[in-house]
């Protein structure tokens, strides 16, 4: 399947063109935000930079200070579902172009993605070194009072691979896989475990 090159901040027409199942390669500026940043923004906190069109990456990186520069040691995605209570509000207030994380998000976020023109990108969980190699620069860090993993890191990425799993047309790959696996589980339940060794 084709790889779509996209640049963050994302333009509205690009967001609209992305469909669940599309592979993308992201370049440009992205920001990290996880539990504390989401809680802060949803409670009315001001974002330290304009989030419009940007990719908000659910990630708590390991970062070290080396020769007075920040160096990303490891930076894979964290579970997005924890931000489900906040994400819809953040999308409606700050109009990010994409939410990136792992595991997908729920109904409320999907509705906001459709209503405000956003997209959910799935990055590979645990692939912290592969993804860190695609972060070419740490532009800055804000909200450091939340601690290193929870701060808002502004990063420049180059060719970071992800998969569109929830799109602005209301499709969710996560929902369809869950439905399908639920059917298959029912079939498995119809055939009980036979223990040939039980004598």
């Amino acid at each position: 399947m084709d790889l779509k090159q996209i640049t963050s901040p994302l333009r509205p027409d690009v967001i609209k063109s992305l469909c669940a199942g599309d592979r993308v390669s992201i370049s440009g500026r992205i920001v990290t935000g996880r539990d504390q940043v989401h809680k802060y923004l949803a409670a009315g906190g001001e974002p330290p930079i304009n989030l419009e069109g940007l990719v908000i990456y659910h990630c708590g990186p390991i970062v070290i200070r080396e020769n007075s520069l920040w160096k990303i040691v490891a930076a894979g995605p964290t579970t997005s579902m924890r931000e489900e209570p906040f994400e819809a509000d953040i999308i409606s207030h700050f109009k990010p172009g994409a939410i990136m994380g792992k595991g997908g998000m729920g109904e409320k976020t999907l509705k906001a993605i459709c209503a405000y023109g956003c997209v959910y990108l799935h990055a590979t969980g645990g692939a912290a070194q592969y993804l860190a190699e695609r972060i070419v620069q740490v532009e800055g860090v804000y909200l450091t009072e939340f601690g290193q993993p929870e701060a808002m890191w502004v990063l420049t990425v180059h060719n970071l691979p992800a998969l569109v799993t929830m799109d602005s047309h209301g499709r969710s790959l996560h929902a369809s896989i869950e439905d399908e696996s639920s059917k298959r589980l029912k079939v498995l339940y119809e055939h009980p475990f036979k223990n040939d060794n039980q004598t």
């Binding site: 997908g104 601690g147 589980l185 060794n197």
Partner: protein, 292 residues
């Protein structure tokens, strides 16, 4: 036991656990790759996973940015060396956190402040099990995402029609895999405990994760259940990272603990593909004699 040597051994043990994917898991991922269609999302995802794990090993950097919560199991004779080992584990944890090898992963739940050095009440979690024989130490770094997918069932359970038998146990485990979808960073490895109480169930389940993927459960019933569930879970179509595919689990390891006649718990400890655990045997002087 020599303090300096134990300190060095514990540092090396935790460092390796953080940066090197165990060989049995690497082999299982390689095998899984051959079972996914070329060009599929599952194939590509496993490819990225394996490239990333290989990078972390070569660069001696963390496999995952979530370097988890540290669990240590010390087995050996109950003498003074246990205190040296305990201190060495805590010191190494602090040192590796300072070096950016372990993420700051301990938050005080009252103040909501990060303790910044990965120590706190019950953290790191260190268990001592008195045993006659050489001292062995197991370290596990388990990520929060997969820990959140771990779960405990109390049987009988009407929702999934699980009774107090092996079929009931099977139903619980398959339900846990379904509920987790990709959120525990599939393909996962399950540590399971049948029986015990609510506390011991989780510990026994987690300790099952120390078993090598290729090992055979000495109980024929459990060996059969492990094989059955592994095969069945991989037909659910959840796949790597829950994006679809044939590889939802890499392994299932089941243990037991005596239960109170009134209770029947099935506890599932879900571990991500990046299951990080190593065990070593120490010499009397405190050096690493063998990686087990």
């Amino acid at each position: 036991m020599d303090n300096r040597r134990v300190q060095k051994s514990m540092y090396e043990l935790i460092h390796r656990t953080c940066t090197m994917l165990p060989q049995d898991i690497t082999s299982a991922l390689e095998k899984a790759l051959t079972q996914e269609n070329n060009g599929s999302i599952a194939h590509e995802t496993l490819g990225i996973i394996m490239q990333s794990a290989s990078l972390s090993c070569n660069k001696r950097l963390p496999i995952c940015q979530d370097t988890g919560a540290l669990l240590a199991i010390i087995e050996g004779r109950p003498d003074k060396s246990v205190f040296l080992i305990e201190k060495a584990i805590i010191d190494a944890t602090r040192a590796l956190t300072k070096e950016g090898m372990l993420r700051q992963n301990c938050v005080d739940p009252l103040s909501e402040k990060n303790t910044l050095d990965n120590t706190g009440a019950f953290v790191p979690q260190i268990h001592f099990e008195p045993k006659d024989g050489p001292t062995r130490i197991g370290i596990m770094l388990k990520g929060g995402g997969s820990e959140n997918m771990s779960t405990q069932y109390s049987l009988p359970l009407q929702r999934i029609q699980a009774l107090r038998d092996m079929e009931g146990v099977r139903r619980c485990i398959l339900d846990a895999v379904f509920q987790a979808q990709g959120k525990g960073c599939a393909p996962g490895i399950l540590g399971v405990c049948i029986g015990g109480d609510r506390a011991s169930g989780y510990l026994v389940a987690k300790k099952q994760l120390f078993r090598k993927l290729q090992d055979m459960n000495p109980s024929p019933v459990l060996a059969s259940l492990e094989q059955t569930i592994l095969q069945e879970a991989n037909t659910l179509g959840i796949g790597p990272m829950g994006l679809g595919g044939n590889t939802t689990l890499l392994g299932v390891k089941i243990g037991t603990a005596g239960r109170h006649p009134a209770s029947y718990f099935v506890t599932v400890s879900y571990s991500c593909w990046a299951t990080r655990r190593f065990m070593v045997e120490l010499t009397k002087g405190g050096d690493i004699r063998e990686w087990i």
